[in-house]
Symmetry: C2
Subunit: 196 residues, 2 copies
């Protein structure tokens, strides 16, 4: 049930059987059907969610009422509003399943306790946070240094299968432009491909 998570953990830290047992006993498994929410704007984020399968998006609603996707979470990644989670504050974000998905939940109520019982988890989450931070910095660089067209091309090259999985309008939002513009890009690319 938690193999994906346990495998993932073992790539960063080495837990003994007892620790693993404690961890598993604190986890909660959940099937999440497409379009349902793990978190809505205004709610406090009560869990840290590990994606076992499927896909989630973290988004906010902008001043002019449109959805802006900030992150996707797929198998092997944690997704959470850490700020809300840590400080018990209402979140600005929505976390929604893009596909039927499965997750492992560490809820707020057991989080601190878990770190006390398994101190090595501090190292694991240090590395996870570092990874997420590095990914965010890379994204900032992409947003600041490249045009919409370059971002689209690069992302399509780097994650061709993921691009197939999600609706185009979500991809456009994530990459920071409009669905109409993405449509134009696709038409342009198709055309240049045709004329070769």
């Amino acid at each position: 049930m938690y193999e994906v998570l346990l495998n993932h953990l073992s790539r960063y830290i080495r837990l003994d059987d007892l620790e693993r047992e404690i961890l598993v006993s604190k986890l909660r498994y959940k099937k999440v059907s497409k379009k349902s929410y793990l978190l809505r704007q205004g709610q406090t984020c009560t869990g840290n969610f590990f994606v076992l399968s499927g896909c989630f998006r973290l988004f906010t609603i902008t001043a002019n009422g449109t959805e802006q996707i900030l992150q996707f979470g797929i198998s092997g990644w944690w997704i959470c509003d850490n700020h809300s989670f840590e400080n018990n504050l209402p979140s600005e974000y929505y976390i929604q399943a893009v596909e039927d998905s499965e997750i492992a939940i560490i809820s707020k109520s057991v989080y601190e306790d878990l770190f006390e019982k398994i101190p090595l988890l501090n190292k694991y989450f240090r590395l996870m946070m570092q990874r997420a931070y590095a990914a965010s910095l890379k994204k900032i660089e992409l947003l600041l240094c490249t045009s919409a067209e370059e971002r689209f091309n690069q992302f399509t090259n780097d994650f061709p299968d993921f691009v197939q999985r999600i609706p185009q309008y979500m991809l456009a939002s994530f990459l920071g432009f409009t669905p109409e513009f993405l449509s134009m890009l696709r038409a342009k690319i198709k055309h240049t491909a045709d004329t070769n």
Copy 2:
């Protein structure tokens, strides 16, 4: 010498005297004069740098040859190319002092050892990475959801004193637009203020 760092640490974890002593013995203090570099593109990042005083910028050179600032580091923040540091890879970034500064360095050679001797540091850096990650996510949101003008106004309101400290062209770069455009914004604001 390291008060800023030790105070900062004590806000997140409680070290005993021995641990503190070990930590201090592994740190290296350095004065860094304005415009000198802690890291250059192509080099491997050999230290994790805590800013005791002063200010640094982390930037890259874009395809068209201009500097793009991704981060500032001021007193109380760590600055480092984690990706390069952890994996011994050449960095894409420059880290340069914006002012005469002082830093505490944890170098690569003692980093792992330090976590072994003081496991509690895993918690501290977990929280630091989480904080840096949250800040990055906030910045991504800002870049995706707001116009250049809004970004400028918001940043100026949130960090009025910091804005005074740095050259305008660095602020423009950090916020993701050109110095010329910033100049225009300032003129516009000045004008609307005058006509009130």
